[in-house]
């Protein structure tokens, strides 16, 4: 620690550094937590990363960690480290809105499994982060509570749907955050805010207590400012959960060891495939320039890099925007004004069905309504085979492309997004343009494997992310490659807020 390190600098530290200081008794979890709460108070009126800051809960959790340490207990690797949680996860007694008016004021009576694991690990939950309503969006502009601003340029989007979690990291409001990734909602915000976001293997992290959007795709995962911190968080939240019937009954691959191995900067013998379909004309020149430089860096570290064609990836976006809305139209039927959340128009005369329709009309925003209707259309008899059924077949072909690619290479790479953070308002009038932000992240969700976005450079002063995609349950591979790249290009710091 240099002389310059004062109390306020806790917000600039890595999670690993904070945990080490707390474990060594050099500072307290309370001091670290207060520093982050102060930072939130200072900057979040401009960033709007948080929907709810749980000051009392955070300080109580921090005190508990300090007491455990004082009692001589050996603490876990992230004890005392503050974490921001996307508002898609149920938190007992703490408001959970999913960015929607339909759940305004709801305080869940239970914790999501991931939240429970975070508490058991001694992390300190600072609060709940902003998101596109029901995780449907790529800019956080579809939040019913107002948009989040990108700390790199407050007039630009922080990505979505997990823009709040990514912005909280980039604004030094939290060293760790939780996101959820259905079509890129962890990785794309990571890319455009210069932070790390990992989508674990589907089934590698529990969906219990995650408000469902598209159940065959939804994957909660870690967000951090560096690869090792993301791996440590992944290790804490991952693993089998009997409460989730699609949870894989296997241990989490050793992602922490892989991140440490990658940080040595040696990729000798690692075979990487650039997805040909994602390095064509679709990406901005500045994004491609940063990507090409990163490929050179990976090659210099010993990786064997080739191009791999995955022809059906071109159809991933349309397939996704049939499958996800179809599942959402079914999942969101539970918001009926009966068991939780909003109820509108119940004047004693109206029927249940009328109250339901008025409640959903008032409680859902335009993007959620669009997706419910698209899904209802795609699942209706007469259209099912041509839309939802065909999309499921395309999903099979995309999986086959991945399997064929992974016979030739250990991992696939591409830019995470076609563009850097776009200006707020640029795409809200044209929903399909918004969908295109997920062009490169969606195939992984349809396949079910893991993907990570790691900062790889700047374009016009804005961050660019590189995506690493690995085979199912080989999450460790992507951490190794990402950590190696990070060791070569470093991390990126936004201008002072």
């Amino acid at each position: 620690m240099s002389e310059m390190t004062g109390m306020s600098d806790f917000t600039r530290m890595t999670a690993t550094e904070i945990a080490s200081l707390v474990a060594g008794g050099e500072t307290s979890a309370v001091e670290v937590t207060q520093a982050h709460l102060d930072r939130i108070a200072a900057v979040d009126d401009r960033v709007h990363a948080f929907l709810h800051v749980d000051t009392e809960g955070a300080l109580a959790a921090a005190r508990a960690v300090d007491e455990r340490r004082a009692a001589g207990e050996v603490l876990g690797p992230l004890a005392g480290v503050p974490v921001a949680v996307k508002d898609v996860l149920a938190t007992r007694g703490v408001p959970t809105t999913v960015g929607s008016k339909i759940l305004e004021g709801w305080r869940p009576p239970y914790d999501a499994t991931i939240v429970q694991r975070l508490r058991e690990a001694g992390t300190v939950m600072l609060g709940k982060t902003n998101m596109d309503e029901f995780a449907m969006g790529s800019s956080t502009e579809y939040s019913a509570y107002g948009p989040t601003h990108n700390p790199w340029d407050l007039s630009r989007i922080p990505g979505g749907s997990g823009g709040g979690s990514a912005a909280a990291l980039a604004a030094y409001e939290a060293p760790l955050a939780i996101g959820s990734d259905t079509g890129g909602s962890i990785r794309q915000p990571g890319a455009v805010t210069g932070t790390v976001g990992a989508k674990p293997t589907y089934g590698g992290t529990s969906r219990y207590g995650l408000v469902a959007f598209s159940s065959s795709l939804d994957t909660p995962g870690p967000c951090a400012r560096n690869v090792l911190d993301a791996a440590l968080l992944h290790q804490v939240i991952g693993g089998h959960d009997p409460m989730d019937s699609t949870s894989i009954p296997q241990p989490v691959p050793d992602v922490v060891a892989a991140a440490r191995l990658g940080a040595t900067g040696d990729l000798t013998g690692v075979r990487l495939g650039i997805v040909s379909e994602f390095v064509g004309e679709g990406a901005e020149p500045g994004v491609m320039a940063a990507f090409r430089e990163s490929v050179d860096a990976l090659t210099k570290m010993g990786a064997d890099v080739v191009e791999v064609s995955c022809p059906t990836f071109a159809y991933a976006l349309p397939a996704y925007y049939l499958i996800a809305p179809s599942e959402c139209s079914s999942n969101l039927a539970r918001f009926d004004g009966v068991r939780f959340g909003l109820r509108v128009g119940d004047d004693g005369n109206r029927s249940l069905e009328e109250v339901m329709s008025l409640t959903r009309e008032a409680g859902f925003g335009p993007e959620v309504k669009r997706r419910i209707m698209i899904g209802t259309y795609a699942l209706s008899s007469g259209y099912y085979d041509a839309y939802y059924g065909q999309a499921q077949k395309v999903r099979t072909l995309i999986t086959r492309d991945f399997n064929a690619a992974f016979e030739r290479v250990d991992a696939l790479i591409s830019p995470t997004t076609p563009s850097v953070a776009f200006p707020m308002g640029a795409r809200t009038a044209d929903p399909y343009q918004m969908y295109l932000a997920d062009l490169y992240t969606i195939p992984t969700n349809l396949y079910g494997g893991p993907g990570i976005s790691v900062p790889c450079g700047l374009s016009e002063g804005l961050p660019v992310g590189l995506q690493v995609m690995a085979p199912t349950m080989a999450d460790d591979r992507m951490y190794r490659v990402a950590a190696a790249l990070e060791s070569a290009v470093g991390t990126f710091t936004p201008p002072a807020l």
Binding site: P109, Y202, S216, L342, E361, R370
Partner: protein, 101 residues
């Protein structure tokens, strides 16, 4: 040619239990048309003999042990309900008065 008409969107809204306004119908009709025309591209893929994938994890029939475990109390389960009575969710009228009388 439009993939979907304003009338069809109104029908979808009814099926989806969304009491949309006339202004919304105007907006959604155009937007859903653009989206449906774009996603219809999946039809270009020759996939007649390809089995569908609904899920990436090949797990079926997951059961837990048949033992009693702690769960929510009735008060907790009803804590988020807009209306509750006698440990039950209270709902608006389901049957019309003609039927009920």
């Amino acid at each position: 040619m439009a993939a979907i008409s304003r009338e069809e969107v109104a029908h979808l809204a009814r099926l989806s239990r969304l009491a949309v306004t006339e202004e919304e119908l105007d907006m959604f009709a155009g937007q859903l048309d653009v989206i449906l025309q774009a996603v219809a591209q999946v039809g270009e893929v020759a996939a007649a003999d390809i089995p569908p994938t609904s899920h990436s994890v090949p797990l079926t029939n997951i059961f837990r042990e048949d033992v009693v475990t702690p769960c929510l109390t009735p008060e907790e389960a009803l804590s988020g309900a807009p209306d509750a009575e006698d440990q039950r969710f209270r709902v608006p009228r389901i049957l019309s008065e003609d039927v009920a009388s």
